[in-house]
Symmetry: C2
Amino acid sequence: MAVVKSRREQYSEATRAALLAAATHRFATLGYAATGLEDVAADIQATRGAVYHHFSSKKALFEAVLDEQEERATSRLGAAYRAAPDPWSGALAALEAFLDQCLDPVYSRVVWREGPIAMGWQGWHHSEEKYAYGLVESIIGELVEHGYLAALPTAAAADVTFHAIGTAGHRMAEADPADRPRLRTEYGAVLRRMLAGLRPDVDPDRPPHSEQQQRSGQSADHGVGEQSTP
Amino acid sequence: MAVVKSRREQYSEATRAALLAAATHRFATLGYAATGLEDVAADIQATRGAVYHHFSSKKALFEAVLDEQEERATSRLGAAYRAAPDPWSGALAALEAFLDQCLDPVYSRVVWREGPIAMGWQGWHHSEEKYAYGLVESIIGELVEHGYLAALPTAAAADVTFHAIGTAGHRMAEADPADRPRLRTEYGAVLRRMLAGLRPDVDPDRPPHSEQQQRSGQSADHGVGEQSTP
DNA sequence: GTCGGTCACATACACAGTGTATGTCAGTAG
DNA sequence: CTACTGACATACACTGTGTATGTGACCGAC
């Protein structure tokens, strides 16, 4: 297969790829709503006719963009996980790779911000099951299965973990690039701790020790300002 | 102040309230994008002129709806926190209250799903700082300050925590109502464990024990299927 | 080579929805 | 009673998606 392609086919594929690239750029910088198909087409000296020839709708164009991003990302995360000697360090490596991936403003914006908007939350999440979310889910499942994590329901644990990591990445991608190394460290620390909380040896119900717990008899109000309740 | 209002003022306020209620219902059931101002107005036997008289734009109408939801929710969470005897149990109580709140499909959909879509992620998050996010942030800050949690950067910890909880609530609100009690239990367990992971006595870097770690000499590939890398 | 068909795109139009400018009439103050 | 203000309704302009139709370049057959 993959015989030589006719000139027309080559042109067509090039057009499609160019549309995809232009759309990726506009979606990632302006967002889904503010991106008009007219502009996308104009970016490559074409008209909306070309867009509708290659993609059935604006939403379909976005999905193609998202798929491309997720394909790349997921293969990286999977590689990082499998390269590690055991599931636990694999999970940590995948976490690092995920944070790295989210630092890419295109990935972050397209997948985490515009995805739910363009495809609807349901559609986005359904699509995610093929990609990063699905990977997180299988990793969590494996960690639980091998006793690295407490016997928690996989779906709930994966869900919260996935979104915690994604949120962190998303916030980093939005921040001033100069702050990112610091944020990366901070978010990484928080996430590793949260993951550690899922380990079987942690007892979530034991009350924490606090050097101030028995201090002077303050009232129950411990600081958070009164909320007006009209 | 608050003297007797003229009949016109009373009518006007009633109209505004009715518009708000109709908009809330449509936004919560159909979503922001699929809600037309024509329909909102028709719900109360009025026209779009009434909407634009009371609200400067569709976005402003949505913000009024969201503000109303968040006002209620935040005062509940704050009350739950302050009613507890100490910050730690206050945080757990607020977590429970948050999950309860998210079970309300109107709150969940308006705040967590449509909010970012309608106001843009930035606008939504900026608005959240006044409400639930701000509350989570101050609670986390207090826990850290009093030694209940490890000395983590408050912003990062609050951010991840807030979104982890919100995601859990959001997923519950979307699930079949019959499944919610079970999900509520599962998500609650995961979230309490994650919060526990932030306690000062948990060492996130100590590798976990696993009964399978030294088993038969498998390759580095520990189960997650190969990802095609085209 | 040329001829009919097809494919890649352009052009033109229908439709929905927001926002805005203007009109109208009830209610209120003097 | 009158003049005015405020609460809406009506009409229109504009933007953007989607769709139906047109057109010219390429491709295979003879």
